[in-house]
Symmetry: C3
Subunit: 203 residues, 3 copies
């Protein structure tokens, strides 16, 4: 149940985020649908691939596909001003990240994987769609940028892996906390340490 | 038979298109071969991956590999002027798209998949190689750009999925029609609706 | 044994190379770890995927993961000057390329694959991690650039495929030779033929 709710939330949020970026880089309507769908389902596909779940399981989610298609249609039809407001704070990317990170963590946890694998599953499920989205829109992946991103996904995985969040209400709280932390990182410019190494011309 | 003919046509066309782009972005001879091969076989590989066919089936196509290698060799040796002429209208990309879209649609149709899956298979088989090619050449994927592209592949999938093209001659006609439609879109600048959302600096 | 030694060498070298590039493009500490790990394990993952080995075998390499994590931690803590010196000649990328090319070749050879498949396995295992690294750091893949790169990996595969390097000391020598050849290509600007085709504006 929690699983399905998070799945729907994450799918909608990433579909929105993919569609918005597609419109920003001037892709046409089909490109908008394509990028929205790829963003919504890419993270799960990469996770399945890496964890060894048949990737074609993807296709047994017809209701989710329909939800994503409807979502993208709505985004496409919204007035420009509304879309602008939706882009604020990268909110939908953050919702997708949090929902899928928790879900990816739950998935690995229920398979009794070791804690590092659970953290990884949370990270890749939460971040995978966004990475693919940014590569296909020719943008530097937001995931690796300076505001804290992957860390929150891994934190979600860690908390789930320690068995600290098993009941539905705990998982929903975890989702909310990760979401708030991510939005705050972006808004307040929280940074993890960066080591800058300037690029030298070699000869 | 139709399958094999389209396979050969699509492989040759995408090998040419990948090799030309590699030369444009100044990759060396091995890079040209690599990008040509990746473009020619990437779409099928991604489709196999997503549909659940063992991806290593790829390796049972020795004749096709040889055809692609010979094709790239010829492109590499052609005079610059001829290569320029071959780039006109993105013709070879269009041939590859049409051939592989029909073939991808046929593949899914023969497996009794639902119509949406057939359309998807046509789209990803037709467009996958070109997406990988453009990402590796650091160009914005042509697939998502404003002239109609994915739509034609999905149209091919739709027509096949409805059972409107089953006999060889019908499939060849479909290939030709999709090809002409794609070239015309590019030449005449046909566009699907675009929603432009300017990029805002947020604070 | 040779296999394991090369695995450790290649993993360390690519982890260093991924971490350095992440710092160059100003990714944060988690982004640095992520890109380091992806570079270290990406080539093997892509190879497994294409050759049909279950990709989740990746996860049975806990010692290697730990080695890579420690390596990246060290790189992150090194003084800037040392990091600069490590970037010279793309040395670590070259070490990773050579180690994984030989290893990828050995892998395919021990499975009695045909010589072209052995050359391909050497190329993709050696180059795969670097390609993914460069795409994720939004750089033009070094693999395809003008200084000889893929050719050396394929040469390693060819020599292994011909049965000319079977004993451990032969394989170590092969590793060293490929490494020296790659570094010399870069330092001396060795080039394979390039066909430059200028980009035309079409109308």
């Amino acid at each position: 149940m929690v699983w399905d709710v998070l799945n729907v939330i994450g799918t909608i949020a990433f579909a929105i985020s993919g569609a918005i970026i597609a419109m920003e880089v001037k892709y046409d309507i089909i490109g908008t649908y394509a990028l929205g769908m790829i963003t919504a389902f890419g993270g799960g596909a990469v996770r399945n691939l890496l964890i060894g779940i048949p990737i074609e399981n993807l296709w047994q989610q017809t209701p989710l596909f329909i939800i994503a298609l409807i979502t993208i249609t709505i985004v496409f039809l919204l007035p420009a001003e509304t879309v602008h407001r939706m882009k604020k704070w990268n909110l939908f990317d953050a919702i997708g990240l949090s929902a899928f990170a928790v879900q990816g963590g739950m998935h690995a946890y229920s398979n009794d994987l070791p804690i590092l694998a659970i953290m990884f599953s949370a990270a890749i499920t939460g971040a995978g769609g966004g990475i693919i989205r940014d590569v296909l829109a020719q943008q530097k992946p937001i995931v690796f940028q300076k505001e804290v991103y992957l860390f929150w996904a891994m934190l979600a995985g860690f908390i789930i892996g320690m068995g600290w969040a098993e009941k539905p209400y705990q998982l929903y709280i975890l989702f909310g906390v990760i979401l708030v932390l991510r939005v705050m990182s972006y808004r307040l410019g929280w940074c993890l340490p960066i080591r800058t190494v300037t690029k030298l011309q070699e000869n």
